[in-house]
Amino acid sequence: MILEVKDLTLRFGGLTAVNKVSFGIEEGSIESLIGPNGAGKTSLFNCLTGFYRAQEGDILFEGKSIMRLKPHKITTLGMARTFQNLRLFKNLTVMENVMSGMHCRTSAGVAGAILRPPSQKAEEKRIRDVAMECMDFVGILDKKDRLAKNLPYGDQRRVEWARALATQPKLLLLDEPAAGLNYDEKMQLIELIRRIRDERKITVFLIEHDMGLVMKVSEKIFVLDYGVKIAEGTAQEVQNNPRVIEAYLGKEEENAV
C-alpha cells in the first residue's frame, strides 16, 4: 500500500463532506475515485494533498502519517496532483511552468542565485533537463517557449501533467483529467496514464466523471456518494453494484405503474 486512508472525516461546519472513508491504494496500480456531483471527491483529494485539514482519521503515505503536513511537504514526499480547473501559471512560458515542478527536488538559495557557483549551474542544467524530458513525455516539447495562457485547452492540460511529473512523484493524483477533452484527446490520455505507470513506475489515482475512461483504465474503483464510500472493486463489480446504480440513476420505485 502506497497510500492508506483510515476513517477520514472532513466537516465544513454542519456539513460532513467526507464521512469515515477508508481505502488503500496499491503501489504500481491505476485506481479511480468516482461518484455523482457533490459526492465529496475533490474534498477528499484536497485532504490527501494537504489543502484541507480533515478533522478525524489518518492518512498514511508510504506508512507515514501526512495528516498534519502542509501541501508543499506532501509534494516533496512524492505525491503530486493536478487541479480540476486548470491552475497553470498563465503568464509564464510552458518551460517555466514545468521547471517549477523541480523546485522541491533542488536547493539553491540566495547565495547560489547571486554568486552562481558551479553547483548552482549544474543544478540549473538538471532542472532544464528534467523539464525537457517531462515535456517530451507528454508531447508539448515543441511549445516550450509559448506562454501557457496562449495554448489550446488540450495542450494546457498536458502542461499541467508535465508540471506534476516534474516533481518526480511516486503517486500522481489526477483531478478530472479528461474534463473538457475531445474523444481523440481522451484516447491519448488513457494511453498516457498507462505510460506513466508502466514507463515511470508511478502509481496513478484519479477522480473522473467520464465513465468510459474510468472503466477502461482503472484496475480498481472506489465509489463515493454523500461523502460515504459505497462500493469498491473492479470495473465489472462496480458497474453491477445495486448501490452504485442507485446513486447514479436513482432508486427504482417498487410500485411504479
Binding site: 502542509k70 501559471f89 515542478g101 542565485a113
Partner: protein
C-alpha cells in the same frame, strides 16, 4: 457556414494585426538586438562610462540630484523584490531604511564604531526586523502585510522620536563621515560614486535573483499561490525570504544615507517616503528591473525639473501619474511580445 468562418478568420487576423502596431514591433526589435551579448555589454559599458565621467563636468546641484537618483534606484529595487517579485504589498518601506540609518548613526555616534563595521550590523538588524514583521504576517493572506507594514512604518518613526538613544525629535546630528583607503569621504562626488556602486550592485543582484530558482518560485507564487504550493514551493518561506532581502537593500541604503547627510531625524522617514518609493516601483512597472530604475529616476527628477513652479509641481506630478495609470497600468516599461 463557410462565410461565417472566413468572416471569423478575418476578424481574428485583424485583432492580431492590431497588436502588431509599429511601436510594439520596434520595441521587440530592440529586445532582440539587446539579446545579443556583444550589443548588450557595449551599450552598458558606454552608459557606465558616461555615468563615471559625469562628476568631472557637471554642477554640484546636478550631482546631488543624481546621487539621490542612485539612492532611489537601490531602495526601489529593494522594494521591487517584495512588491514586484513576490507580489506582496508593503506600505512601510521607509522604516527599513530608518533601521539601517539609525543603526549606523547610533553605532558611530555613541560607540565610535567605524562606518564600514556598522554595515553588517545594519544588515543583521534588517533581517531581525524583517523576520519580526514578516514571520507572523506572511502566514496570512498577503493583504494583511500591507496593514502591518503600514503600522510598522509609523511605530518605527514614533519610537525614533521618543527614544533617547535615537536622539528623540532632533534625531542624530554630527555623524562622522568615514574614510575609504585613507581618503576621507567628504565631497558630493564621493557619495555620487558610492551610491552609483550600490545601484549597480542592486541591479546586478536583482537580475541574478530574477533568473534563479528562487526568482522562478516568486513568479509562480505571484501567478497562483495554491498551484505553487502544490508544486512543492514553500510559499511562506519564499515570501519571507523576499521580504528580508528587500529589507536588507533598504537598510544598507539607509546606512549610506546616514553618512551622506551626517544628520538623521524621524522626519526623514515619513509615510510619504514609503509611498513615493512604492509609486516609483508601480510607475516603472512592477517586477521589471529597467522599469523600476526608470521609475526611480522619474520620481526624483520630475519634482526637480518643475521646481520653478513652486508648490504646484506636486499637483502636476499627481495629474501626470493619474494619466499614466489610466493609460499604462502595467507601468512605463514596455512588455516584450515575442
Amino acid at each position: 457556414m463557410k462565410d461565417k468562418q472566413t468572416c471569423l478568420q478575418t476578424a481574428v487576423d485583424k485583432k492580431a494585426k492590431k497588436v502588431n502596431n509599429p511601436f510594439v514591433e520596434l520595441i521587440d526589435r530592440f529586445y532582440v538586438l539587446f539579446d545579443n551579448k556583444k550589443v548588450r555589454y557595449s551599450v552598458l559599458a558606454a552608459a557606465l562610462a558616461v555615468l563615471l565621467y559625469l562628476p568631472m563636468r557637471t554642477s554640484m546641484y546636478f550631482m546631488e540630484v543624481m546621487t539621490n537618483v542612485w539612492f532611489h534606484v537601490v531602495v526601489c529595487l529593494g522594494l521591487n523584490i517584495i512588491v514586484g517579485f513576490a507580489g506582496l504589498l508593503s506600505l512601510g518601506y521607509a522604516a527599513f531604511f530608518a533601521v539601517g540609518a539609525y543603526t549606523t548613526g547610533i553605532l558611530i555616534l555613541h560607540y565610535g564604531v567605524s562606518f564600514w563595521l556598522t554595515l553588517p550590523v545594519s544588515v543583521l538588524m534588517a533581517i531581525i526586523a524583517g523576520l519580526a514583521i514578516g514571520g507572523p504576517t506572511l502566514k496570512l493572506r498577503s493583504d494583511y502585510l500591507a496593514i502591518v507594514t503600514l503600522g510598522f512604518g509609523e511605530i518605527t518613526r514614533l519610537a525614533a522620536r521618543n527614544l533617547d538613544i535615537t536622539g528623540r525629535a532632533t534625531g542624530l546630528v554630527g555623524i562622522e563621515r568615514p574614510t575609504l583607503f585613507g581618503m576621507a569621504m567628504v565631497k558630493i562626488n564621493h557619495f555620487y560614486y558610492a551610491f552609483l556602486v550600490l545601484a549597480v550592485l542592486a541591479i546586478f543582484i536583482s537580475y541574478r535573483l530574477q533568473d534563479s530558482r528562487l526568482g522562478r518560485a516568486w513568479k509562480c507564487i505571484r501567478e497562483d499561490e495554491d498551484a505553487a504550493e502544490a508544486m512543492g514551493i514553500n510559499v511562506v518561506a519564499a515570501r519571507l525570504l523576499a521580504f528580508i532581502i528587500g529589507s536588507v537593500f533598504g537598510a544598507l541604503a539607509g546606512s549610506f544615507m546616514a553618512i551622506k547627510m551626517t544628520a538623521i531625524s524621524p522626519e526623514s522617514f515619513l509615510f510619504t517616503q514609503s509611498v513615493m518609493i512604492l509609486l516609483a516601483v508601480v510607475l516603472g512597472g512592477m517586477g521589471k528591473i529597467p522599469g523600476v530604475v526608470l521609475g526611480a529616476l522619474a520620481v526624483v527628477v520630475f519634482p526637480e525639473v518643475f521646481r520653478g513652479i513652486g508648490k504646484y509641481r506636486m499637483l502636476i506630478f499627481g495629474a501626470v501619474l493619474l494619466v499614466l495609470m489610466i493609460y499604462r497600468p502595467q507601468g512605463l516599461w514596455p512588455e516584450r511580445h515575442t
